[in-house]
Every structure is written in structure tokens, then in C-alpha cells.
């Protein structure tokens, strides 16, 4: 059956309408994300609690998240594995009884009750109202008590001189550092570098969002599927959760 001119006209009209609609709405959606981002003058609030869900079923042997973090924050080492910093690392697990293997990224778990913050004598280790645990490099005295206290080995001490630092992620020789959940990106309405890299080059195993927001994908995923907090027995209420453990 040959196509009627009227159908062709209709299709063109619909196509045009969709294109026009997309062009009209897309910037709006994009700008809405930007609008959601916090301005510098705006205080961080506890209405949001940033969190990360790791789906170990989608996590392969790749190191896209680690590479992206290293690039984003510039924690390139000196080929001294024992003293080089690692803000995020891939951990391989093997169940002793069944032999089942799991690969997953391990980093600061952004506890609601962070032991590192409790033990820090100067308050350099602190938790933002939105749940991100950070180190104030200006008042860290380098005592390393937080490293003793962290159950996740998430923190590193800067053992030697630094070069080529990233302006958005300042580091300091003689101070302690760890995953910042890419706070500079989150405050600008973006995703952490590891999450972006995992979506692009990995298995899309990382889901970032507001744990407090019932509409957020992470909240809904946590409400739908079982998930685990590492060393949940410690009662630290972690911002990072794992699925498939």
C-alpha cells in the first residue's frame, strides 16, 4: 500500500514536534540539575544525605572507578605501594566455604557515626551535614589516629612531597586524606568521578544519590532490593551500601 501524502505530512509534523519538544525541555532538565546544585552561599543541610550503592553483580574486574578517582584527585603514587595513597581500591573477596568470588570498590563509607571524626583531636576530621566525611587539611596535625580508628582502611597519610595538585582537591604532605565523595562535583550538581566512569567504562555498578529522598533512584533501589553495610555490626550507619554480597 503506497503512503498517502497526508501520512507523510503527519509524520513530519510529529517528528518536528518531538524535536521541538526535546529542544525545549532538554535545557530545562539540564538547568534543573544545575539549579539543584548548591550555590556557595547556601549552607549544606541534613535534608540531603548523599550515598552510594554498589551493585557487586555489575562490578567486574575493571578499575575504571579507581582510575577516574586517581585522575580526578591526582593521588598518583611514587611506586611505593605501602606508603602511596589509595582513596579507593578494588577488593577481591572469596567465600571461604563456597569459593564464590566478588569484586567491589572499597573507599570511605561516609559513616553517619564516623569513628575517624570521634577520635580526631582537633576536629580536622569532620562530617558535613549532608553526610560527606572530610578532612580539613588546614587543621590536620598528621597524628594518624583516624587511620587507627577507621574500620575500612579508607584513609591514607601523605608520606612525601606533592606535585601537580588539582586545585579542586588540595592535598597536604603530612596530613591524612580519603575519598571526598567528589564533594566539589556534588556541590556543582554532578556525580562523583567514580560513578561517572563506572557508567561509561565499567559495568554501571555505582548509583549515587540522596538517601533521604524517596524519589531518588538510590532510595528506591535500597527500598526494593536487599543491601548490606560493611561491618554493619559496628552500627556506624554507612552512606555506602553494597548489593549482592
Amino acid at each position: 500500500m503506497s503512503e498517502q501524502p497526508i501520512d507523510r505530512y503527519r509524520r513530519r509534523l510529529l517528528g518536528g514536534a518531538v524535536a521541538a519538544g526535546t529542544l525545549t525541555l532538554a535545557p530545562g532538565v539540564f538547568l534543573h540539575r544545575i539549579a539543584e546544585a548548591k550555590t556557595d552561599a547556601e549552607p549544606v543541610t541534613s535534608i540531603v544525605r548523599w550515598g552510594l550503592l554498589v551493585d557487586t553483580g555489575k562490578c567486574s574486574d575493571c578499575t575504571a572507578c579507581v582510575d577516574a578517582c586517581r585522575e580526578e584527585h591526582g593521588w598518583h603514587g611514587h611506586d611505593r605501594p605501602r606508603s602511596d595513597a589509595q582513596w579507593i581500591r578494588k577488593v577481591e573477596l572469596r567465600d571461604r566455604s563456597t569459593g564464590r568470588r566478588v569484586s567491589l570498590p572499597m573507599m570511605c563509607q561516609h559513616c553517619a557515626e564516623p569513628p575517624c571524626v570521634d577520635v580526631c583531636p582537633t576536629g580536622a576530621s569532620f562530617k558535613r551535614a549532608d553526610g560527606i566525611v572530610l578532612v580539613d587539611k588546614h587543621i590536620c596535625i598528621g597524628c594518624r589516629y583516624c587511620m587507627m580508628a577507621c574500620p575500612y582502611k579508607a584513609r591514607s597519610f601523605v608520606h612525601e612531597d606533592l606535585t601537580d595538585q588539582k586545585p579542586h582537591s588540595p592535598r597536604g604532605k603530612g596530613t591524612v586524606e580519603s575519598c571526598t565523595l567528589c564533594v566539589h562535583r556534588v556541590d556543582a550538581g554532578q556525580q562523583p568521578a567514580c560513578v561517572e566512569a563506572c557508567a561509561q567504562d565499567g559495568g554501571g555498578a555505582l548509583l549515587f544519590g540522596d538517601l533521604n529522598d524517596p524519589r531518588s533512584a538510590i532510595h528506591q533501589a535500597l527500598a526494593t532490593f536487599p543491601s548490606t553495610q560493611v561491618r554493619a555490626d559496628l552500627g556506624l550507619d554507612l552512606g555506602v551500601r553494597y548489593r549482592g554480597l
Binding site: H78, L93, R94, R96, V117, K173, G174
Partner: protein
């Protein structure tokens, strides 16, 4: 008979010792400079063993400091008159040991230049922050105590200030032990017993160092010393060692009983190589059982050599104990996923072997040298030492 206190003379031996200790202190400061200049990668410490040999020395000296005050407390608080002539030296030694320990601790910081931050910015949930108050308070209170002991116009307050200093030192050692007791995720720590254990250890180390320093000063300056007074301390020291052993046994037996701590215990008690050796040979055999035998065996009563040997052994054993506690405790892998084997590029699941470096040893010995220097200079410039302690002064209990 009234005890006379006199400053010591600057003999050739005194100057030689002063020079030696000064050189050791300079070496320690040099070591600290190397560590700060190049960064901590020149040490044996890393992101796995974050506290190393400097902390072994520092915690030992700080724990010993509070114990060294005990001789003064026996006189002032418990009313044993024969010890009163030694109270001044006891207070001086306590301050000196604390100064030595804190020097190490501060110079091992990643940013020692930020000491002022540590002194002005506090997080009161941190036992470290409390310890800064406890240490500074200890300096002030013991200084005030020494003042009441040395100035007759205020001597009426000696008893009260002495009691306050005694209570303060108990709290201080509780704080030091709690540094480890409050580490929730480390299998080898995270136990309330760390505080009383550290108090028992402080009584042991402080007393042993006191006996050695007092004997050295009296003999070195030609002062008469009735060794029967020091011998009275022998039973007390032996008893304190037994108390520390009992608490150590309770600590390890409790952990052995719990399956979750079994791996950590096995590492320290059986499989830890140098850690295990430090525990059984250093802490238990040389640091506890042998000195107890030397101190409590009636055959050695009145034998000054046996007493001094026991004190030296206690100090070596004390350093071994701190090594086992601090290095051994960190060597135990963190149990992130119970029941799973874990591996990573960050040494997860691996027993970490620590090899101390020369700068760390230098800094540790430098702190010890500072403590002895403070004592040496102290007894030269102020009348801390009795001119003699003949047997008549030590007659009554």
C-alpha cells in the same frame, strides 16, 4: 634527723653524661628533621602500620611518667615517711619522662609545626584531645606539688596537692590506655581492660626507672644511700609486675575465648614472628617472670645487683610490651568481611610486617635522652636530691 637537700656538683662524669645525652638528643632532633623534610616514607611506617617505633618509645615514656610519681605518692598520700626524701626526685622524674615522651609524639606528627593547632582547637569527643589536657595538667600539678615539697612556706598543702596529683595520674594513664581501648574496629584493642592494664604497667615501668635513676644519681654523686630503702620497693615492684601479668592474661584469655578474636590472638601468641617473640621472650619472660624471680626470691633480698638487673629487664620488657601492643595490634588485618578471604592492592587481609628505620629509633632514643637530661639539669640547678640517705632515715615504715 632532718634531710638536707643539695644540688649536685658539675663533676667530670656529670659533664660527660650531659654531653652524651645531649648528643643523643641532637641525633633524635636530626632524625625528626629528616622525617619531616623527606616525609614519613623514609621511616618504616606506612599506610598499614601508621604508628611505629616512635610511638613505642613515646607511649612507654608517658606511661612510665605517671608511674614515676608513685614514690612521691607513697610518701604523701599513703603516709610512708621513709619515702619522703625521695619525693622531689620522683616528681622531677615524672615531669622529665612525660616531656621525653611528648617530644617524640609531637615530632612524629605529620605536621609538628601545627602543635599550636592541637593546643587551641579541640574535639572533646576525642580521647587524644583529653590527653592533651591531661598531659599539660600533669606538668602543672606535679610542678605545684614539687613547689609544696620544696618551699616550706607552702608545705602544709603538700598532702592535698599530692593527693590531687595522684588522682590526676590515675586519670592520665586511663586516658593513655583508652587511646587503644577506644579503637572499635581493631581486634587487638577495643577493650576496657586497656586502661587498668596501662595503670598497672605504669606502676611497673615508673618504679623501675625511678630505682635505676635514683641509684645512679646517689652513687654517681657520692651520696650515701641505704639500699634497704630501695629494697623496700622490691616487693612492691614484684607485686605490680604480677598485677600487670594478671591483667595481660585476662586480656588474652578473653580474646581467645571469642571466636571473632581468635585470629588476632593467634597472630600475637603463635604466628606473628617477631611480634610473637617480643611477646613471649620480651614481655613475658624477660620483662615479667625473670624480674619477678629476681625481686621476690628471698635469696636475692638485700642484693642490690639483682634489684637493678630486675629494673633493667623491666624496662626492656616494657619496650617489648609496647611493641607488641602498638605494632602487633596494627599487624592484625582488619576484618572487613567476616568469613571471606580478602585481597587488594592495599594489603587487605595481609599480615603486615614492619621494619623500623634508623630515624625512628633515633627519635625514640632522643626522647629518652631528653628525659634524662631534664633530670640531670634539674638536680644540678635545684635541690632535688638529699645529700645522703643513711639507714637511720629509712628506719621506720
Amino acid at each position: 634527723m632532718r634531710t638536707r637537700f643539695l644540688e649536685v656538683d658539675t663533676s667530670k662524669g656529670y659533664l660527660l653524661l650531659l654531653g652524651l645525652l645531649g648528643a643523643l638528643l641532637a641525633a633524635g632532633l636530626g632524625a625528626a628533621w629528616i622525617m619531616e623534610h623527606h616525609g614519613h616514607h623514609v621511616t618504616g611506617m606506612d599506610n598499614q602500620i601508621v604508628w611505629g617505633l616512635p610511638h613505642v618509645f613515646a607511649v612507654f615514656l608517658i606511661v612510665a611518667a605517671s608511674g614515676a610519681l608513685n614514690v612521691a605518692s607513697i610518701g604523701s598520700v599513703f603516709g610512708k615517711m621513709p619515702y619522703k626524701p625521695l619525693a622531689r626526685l620522683s616528681g622531677l622524674l615524672a615531669i622529665a619522662l612525660l616531656a621525653g615522651g611528648l617530644m617524640i609524639l609531637v615530632l612524629d606528627l605529620g605536621r609538628p609545626d601545627r602543635l599550636i593547632v592541637a593546643m587551641t582547637t579541640y574535639n572533646f569527643k576525642s580521647i587524644f584531645a583529653w590527653n592533651i589536657f591531661l598531659y599539660n595538667g600533669f606538668f602543672l600539678i606535679v610542678a605545684a606539688y614539687l613547689w609544696t615539697l620544696m618551699d616550706r612556706t607552702v608545705s602544709e598543702h603538700a598532702g592535698r596537692v599530692g593527693l590531687f596529683a595522684f588522682v590526676w595520674r590515675l586519670i592520665l594513664t586511663t586516658g593513655t590506655g583508652s587511646i587503644f581501648g577506644f579503637l572499635i574496629a581493631r581486634e587487638a584493642y577495643d577493650a576496657a581492660i586497656m586502661a587498668p592494664l596501662f595503670i598497672a604497667l605504669s606502676l611497673v615501668y615508673g618504679k623501675a626507672i625511678f630505682i635505676l635513676v635514683a641509684t645512679g644519681l646517689f652513687r654517681g654523686t657520692g651520696r650515701e644511700l641505704d639500699t634497704s630503702l630501695l629494697s623496700r620497693l622490691r616487693v612492691l615492684l614484684g607485686t605490680f609486675i604480677a598485677a600487670a601479668l594478671l591483667l595481660t592474661a585476662a586480656q588474652h584469655l578473653t580474646n581467645l575465648y571469642a571466636a571473632e578474636h581468635l585470629a588476632a590472638e593467634m597472630l600475637i601468641l603463635r604466628d606473628g614472628g617477631s611480634i610473637t617473640q617480643a611477646f613471649w621472650i620480651g614481655q613475658i619472660l624477660l620483662g615479667s617472670l625473670l624480674p619477678m624471680w629476681l625481686l621476690l626470691n628471698p635469696a636475692f633480698r638485700g642484693n642490690c645487683g639483682a634489684l637493678l638487673a630486675a629494673c633493667v629487664l623491666v624496662i626492656l620488657g616494657g619496650l617489648a610490651t609496647m611493641y607488641v601492643t602498638i605494632i602487633g595490634g596494627q599487624s592484625v588485618p582488619l576484618e572487613l568481611f567476616p568469613g571471606m578471604e580478602i585481597s587488594s592492592s592495599f594489603f587487605d587481609g595481609e599480615v603486615i610486617h614492619y621494619a623500623p628505620s634508623l630515624p625512628e629509633l633515633g627519635l625514640g632514643l632522643g626522647g629518652g635522652a631528653l628525659a634524662l637530661l631534664v633530670v640531670l639539669v634539674g638536680v644540678r640547678v635545684l635541690p632535688f636530691l638529699p645529700d645522703a640517705l643513711p639507714s637511720s632515715a629509712a628506719a621506720d615504715d
